[in-house]
Symmetry: C2
Subunit: 328 residues, 2 copies
């Protein structure tokens, strides 16, 4: 049967549960092997924060900037070619900040150009737009054709309990203290009351394949699955869910996933991640370096796929995605 469609390399739809950098790279690979319209990213927003009155969605922005080719490649966040005048000028106010105030805090990196995204989001939210709507507008502004969905439009925030600072918001743990401190426990405040964001459950239910990106299982994927209706939907698709291990040779490529898994009593290995995901995923992609863990993954009830999972280039990311989609 002849078709008028522009010869897609693949015709399956995918829904991807996403954190920040690892997910962004996986999505970039998917964009090279699938039509953008076939891809839905369901993104963690439990890391969202308000700083200087601005509404900031770090994982959404990392995904948008990465897919637009605008991300700073060294930092892995924010825009390339960025300037820092506003943040630098805040130094003047450090000395007059009263005790207990967070005004003039400069530990959260806000580049001058990046500010425009926060200005736009903040103003639209203040006008009553949902984060779902604003995120779609931002994706369009950057010329992206995939669907980027916040996991929820409700307030659901990750708090980390630490020995040194007590219970602190995620960004204080992650950015201010550069996750160099130990997380004793993690809570998702607001999870019980939160509803899935618009179109999220539908995307999971109808996608041909659901992918769990190689993001932090506890603080990136964890908040998404902490919303009951999302977890139930993912569990209902277990046979079609493929998780990519963020742990390679016992370490996280980036971020504190390894230390956090250990704190949570989860084995810091692809097998430990498989055990963590056993209720939601039937397939687990593990790195070539972890080939010997394939049987341990299988023992957890997940079909192991062993391949190169290190996405240091867009080509390697696309190759990983072809493997996930069963194209190789």
């Amino acid at each position: 049967v002849p078709t008028t469609s522009p010869s897609p390399v693949f015709d399956r739809t995918v829904a991807v549960l996403c954190g920040g950098v690892g997910a962004a790279r996986l999505l970039a690979g998917l964009m090279d092997v699938l039509p953008a319209a076939s891809i839905t990213a369901i993104v963690n927003v439990a890391d969202d924060t308000e700083i200087h009155g601005l509404s900031i969605s770090p994982d959404i922005d990392t995904i948008v900037y990465t897919l637009a080719g605008a991300i700073d490649p060294e930092r892995g966040w924010g825009l390339a070619g960025e300037s820092w005048q506003a943040l630098a000028a805040l130094e003047r106010y450090e000395g007059v900040r009263p005790p207990g105030s967070s005004a003039a805090n400069r530990w959260f990196g806000l580049g001058d150009k990046d500010l425009a995204t926060h200005f736009y989001r903040t103003q639209r939210l203040a006008e009553g737009a949902t984060l779902t709507a604003v995120t779609a507008e931002i994706a369009t502004a950057w010329g992206l054709g995939l669907t980027i969905l916040p996991m929820t439009n409700d307030r659901l925030r990750t708090f980390v309990t630490t020995a040194q600072f007590g219970r602190i918001p995620f960004q204080e743990f992650f950015v201010r203290h550069r996750h160099a401190i130990n997380a004793l426990s993690v809570e998702f405040e607001g999870a019980v009351a939160a509803s899935p964001g618009a179109a999220v459950v539908d995307a999971i239910t109808t996608a041909d394949l659901v992918i769990i990106a190689p993001s932090n299982p506890l603080v990136s994927i964890g908040p998404i699955l902490s919303i009951d209706a999302i977890r139930t939907a993912v569990e209902g698709r277990r046979a079609d869910v493929v998780a990519v291990s963020p742990i390679i040779a016992g370490k996280a490529l980036k971020g504190p996933a390894d230390h956090m898994l250990a704190s949570a009593g989860i084995e810091v290995s692809a097998a430990g991640v498989a055990a963590h995901y056993r209720a939601v995923a039937a397939t687990m992609v593990i790195d070539d370096l972890d080939a010997e863990l394939a049987s341990a993954v299988a023992a957890e009830g997940l079909r192991p796929i062993v391949t190169d999972t290190v996405m240091t280039s867009r080509e390697r990311a696309a190759a990983l995605c072809r493997t996930i989609l069963g194209m190789t």
Copy 2:
């Protein structure tokens, strides 16, 4: 009697009712002839606005930046040596802004360094600090020794009714439409319920001299005097109140005061301003160019002082202040 004080050039205290640029220049002159601790600026905040979620106080910032020697001398607002990356980056979002949204508006000039001031103010207000407290902190951060008091901590906002756009907030009239459109009328929303800011009435009551700066009588000084307790306090000090005419030879040096006075049915001259201020001021400083209006000012019941009022340099501003203080 010998004194240990550092030989002040003058020992009187002054309270100055202030708008933006004209007031800032007068205050700069006062700072050269009086100890900073003797000067209290009572500043219009009815022009304040929220843009991109940020709390902006244009008149306070113009005064602070001017007195700190940091103002851009050509523009008369914002910081010298400013960059505009954030504002420029907002252009990307213009195309996706839904109808009716004010997100991505770029007509209000926000330089990158200037943003730090708005970030600090916004965060402190969100923490529950009063604008009075935040303004004092900002003045201290810029090394200023005078007292800068917002006229109120309540929400009191100027709206301008125009034929083209209906009733619009002051900054839309003043900045977006560059006050090139005609103001049919002006309202101070919230004036009835507003209380004077902390220390404002006390400053007016106790100052040796009260000065009304050469600011727009309708939309800069007007909002200050729209607060009952402030107007009553100024009226009570009428004998010691000196107003400086913002109209010279029938024109405002800057801004729409001339057109607005005409719209309000007030004669666009120093004599018209004298009539407008007759209940609150006993003395009126008019420019040499308006010497022939001295008798008309006197006929309104105000003692005229004729001198050079054009503050194009700090020296000329200081000379004007010496005259006001009776030092010449």
